[in-house]
């Protein structure tokens, strides 16, 4: 394996779930890489495929009758092609995952320590005593006070933040090379969220693992990730370094996300510009660019042509799937950054208004009329 080979390389991943209503295209041609010791943030709304793509990395969608194609190369091995047994040796060992809801991902019936000991002994041939010592050490590592005593507690005796710490301890039991954190702080309060994010960063520094953090919160990725992938309707629509993505976002959906969150530091009276409509159904996706029904800059041909994720002209590391020309996009974003609405931005660059009404999202019951927003 060459030194340049990333730790994880996902290539053209497709995940489909056949259902009674039709085929759900949960992940539709996603590619990304994660290098050792780096953090990739995957941002998207519910139903954008961000969780399914990560579950598939661990082979956790196999039992749900998913049709998977593409390659997931981890340290030179294609995880999609591995047998369940081979995958089990990697899962929880080299690749670990923490989930959103720490209450439902710990078994309520067993002591926290018992579950930690199991996580250690599944992959390491050590005695119960040694595993228990390791469990205590892990709980201490994630900052649980008095770990020697807490190891014998049940999950319900832990608070939300402590449960998430216990989950992290379990994920770290075998010093994974890759940690996938799926909305690790969404269920937690802000002060606890800050603790958990700081803990993850500290552990990454100490153990040198790569992290994929999946979230809907742009604040969380801005604070933790090195690179960001923005997902929409099962695809990555924009990928760039964190600095670059926030300084010069290229995709109208990313603009929409950035403009629809109120800021803690900007001027208060700044009007929020929501993205109209709602995300499309993954069974019956809009033709052409999947975002075009909600995009204020869409043109007639965008309903026919499917954009590919391509490098931006002056920066090959920044990729975007948008049919607008780069120079036009730059001017639009400059207008939006000055606090103009999408309509004003469109007018000042001389772009005609979309022909069909914006916001006829495919799955909404009829269309949502344009509100005075």
């Amino acid at each position: 394996m060459s030194a340049a080979e990333p730790l994880l390389r996902v290539e053209d991943l497709h995940v489909e779930f056949p259902t009674e209503d039709g085929v759900v295209h949960a992940v539709d041609g996603v590619s990304y890489e994660v290098d050792r010791g780096r953090t990739l943030g995957i941002v998207g709304e519910s139903g954008s495929g961000k969780t399914v793509s990560s579950l598939t990395t661990l082979g956790l969608t196999r039992t749900q009758g998913a049709r998977v194609s593409g390659r997931i190369v981890f340290e030179g091995k294609d995880l999609v092609a591995l047998s369940e047994g081979e995958l089990r040796a990697i899962r929880g060992n080299d690749i670990a995952m923490i989930f959103q809801d720490p209450l439902s991902s710990l078994h309520p019936f067993f002591k926290v320590g018992t579950q930690l000991i199991e996580a250690v002994r599944v992959h390491q041939d050590v005695s119960k005593q040694a595993a228990r010592a390791r469990a205590v050490e892990l709980l201490g590592l994630v900052g649980i006070p008095d770990p020697g005593k807490r190891v014998d507690a049940y999950p319900h005796e832990f608070s939300g933040g402590m449960r998430q710490r216990a989950m992290i301890a379990m994920a770290l039991a075998n010093e994974p090379k890759l940690l996938i954190a799926d909305e690790p702080t969404t269920a937690l309060d802000v002060t606890v969220q800050a603790q958990i994010l700081q803990l993850l960063q500290r552990l990454q520094g100490e153990l040198g693992m790569a992290i994929v953090i999946i979230t809907h919160d742009l604040g969380v990725v801005a604070q933790t990730a090195d690179d960001i992938a923005v997902m929409y309707a099962g695809r990555i629509v924009e990928r760039a370094s964190t600095k670059r993505l926030f300084a010069g976002p290229e995709h109208p959906y990313t603009w929409g996300l950035l403009k629809s969150i109120p800021s803690l530091t900007g001027t208060r009276k700044e009007q929020l510009v929501p993205i109209s409509g709602s995300p499309p159904s993954l069974i019956n996706r809009p033709p052409g660019c999947h975002f075009h029904p909600r995009c204020p800059y869409s043109q007639p041909e965008h309903a026919r042509i499917d954009p590919r994720l391509e490098p931006v002209t002056d920066d090959p590391s920044h990729r975007v799937a948008c049919l607008l020309e780069t120079s036009l996009r730059r001017r639009l974003w400059a207008e939006l950054s000055d606090g103009n609405t999408p309509e004003q931005a469109r007018a000042s660059v001389g772009l005609p208004a979309p022909q069909e009404p914006v916001a006829s999202a495919a799955d909404a019951p009829g269309e949502m009329p344009e509100v005075g927003l």
Partner: protein
């Protein structure tokens, strides 16, 4: 109520006055003879005013009593003690017709747009319900017209009158909740985490709708949320709650620009800001979790987690008082300006 009384009431500056509001939920043991062994002190001595036409934000973490406060204001819960004056009238003891009259003026929007709508009722029937209860818009045709007007107003297609909640997306359901709440043209609207269950792109739609409704109907709004950026965007004044108490209260600009209570400072510094340039590795993180409201710390309830706590904090309970920088804070040793940068508060101005 005579016309004169109405006039004097309407002239008051505050629509809502809350004084020493307390709600303790008893913890009991035993099946037959339930002994009271303790109490969850969900709300413990809260006082604030809401001025006519303003938006008051209530922020705080899980278990701080913000939702309980909302339910006390709407009389969905009975307070243990304390007063709530709405439009000059004490409402905690009201019964029957007079309570019903107050309920017409105070409406609520709930967090979860999935469980707060009856799945077996059409959207039309759900929005019409308050009109039916209060005997307004008599006659089927008139009621239907009123409901369709409301649907139009909140940005729903009036033709979807006969559809069921499951046919709508989360954001649209929240619009239904808003339509139901404004159906009676209330004076006070209480929104309890109205956007926390929604996706980012949908959140802004609902926030804008609420601002729009407030402008159109001249509503007074109490906006409860845990998201500090959303509260800053929506509210004129903000109350920060911790373990059943208001620890800091003041106009948004003052409170976010120069927080005085260390808890407010900690909350502000903990919010992940969507700007990688403002990445701060050195932050003042609170250690541990919020203590149980069944057994809160003595005196200042924050002293167990407070970086500035001294002996006095565990002996003497601080009162909410003006700290001279625009906000009232309940703290013996409030934050100073030079400490803000230290704890990682990116003050907004």
């Amino acid at each position: 109520m005579s016309a004169e009384q109405v006039l004097t009431r309407a002239s008051g500056e505050s629509l809502v006055e809350v004084r020493d509001l307390v709600k303790h939920f008893p913890i009991t043991r035993g099946v037959l003879f339930q002994r009271k062994v303790g109490a969850v002190q969900a709300v413990d001595g809260v006082s604030f005013d809401v001025k006519r036409g303003e938006t008051l934000g209530i922020v705080g973490e899980t278990g701080c009593g913000k939702s309980t406060t909302a339910r006390l204001l709407t009389r969905l819960l009975e307070p243990t003690s304390g007063e709530v004056r709405f439009d000059g009238q004490e409402i905690t003891k009201l019964k029957g017709a007079r309570l019903k009259a107050v309920r017409r003026e105070v409406q609520m929007i709930f967090q979860d747009p999935y469980s707060s709508l009856n799945p077996r009722k059409t959207v039309g029937a759900t929005i019409a319900q308050p009109l039916v209860i209060h005997g307004l818009a008599d006659g089927k045709g008139e009621r239907k017209r009123a409901v369709q007007e409301l649907m139009e107003m909140v940005g729903l297609n009036p033709e979807h009158y006969n559809r069921y909640p499951h046919e709508f997306s989360g954001g649209q359901r929240q619009r239904i909740g808003v339509a139901r709440a404004v159906a009676l043209k209330p004076k006070l609207l209480i929104a309890d985490e109205p956007v926390s269950a929604l996706d980012v792109s949908i959140q802004a739609q609902v926030l804008n709708l609420l601002l729009d409704m407030q402008r159109q109907l001249g509503l007074t709004l109490i906006f409860i949320a845990h998201d500090l950026s959303v509260v800053r965007h929506m509210c004129d004044r903000v109350a920060v709650m911790y373990l059943g108490r208001v620890v800091e209260l003041g106009p948004g600009e003052a409170l976010y620009g120069f927080p005085r209570h260390p808890y407010t400072g900690a909350l502000l510094s903990a919010v992940p800001v969507a700007d990688p340039e403002l990445r701060t590795d050195e932050r003042n993180l609170l250690s541990g979790d919020v203590p149980s409201p069944a057994n809160p710390p003595k005196a200042c309830r924050f002293h167990t987690r407070c970086p500035k706590a001294q002996e006095r904090c565990s002996i003497e309970d601080p009162v909410l008082e003006d700290k001279g920088t625009g906000t009232e804070a309940a703290c013996h040793f409030p934050l100073e300006r030079e400490e803000l940068a230290q704890i990682g508060v990116r003050s907004a101005r």
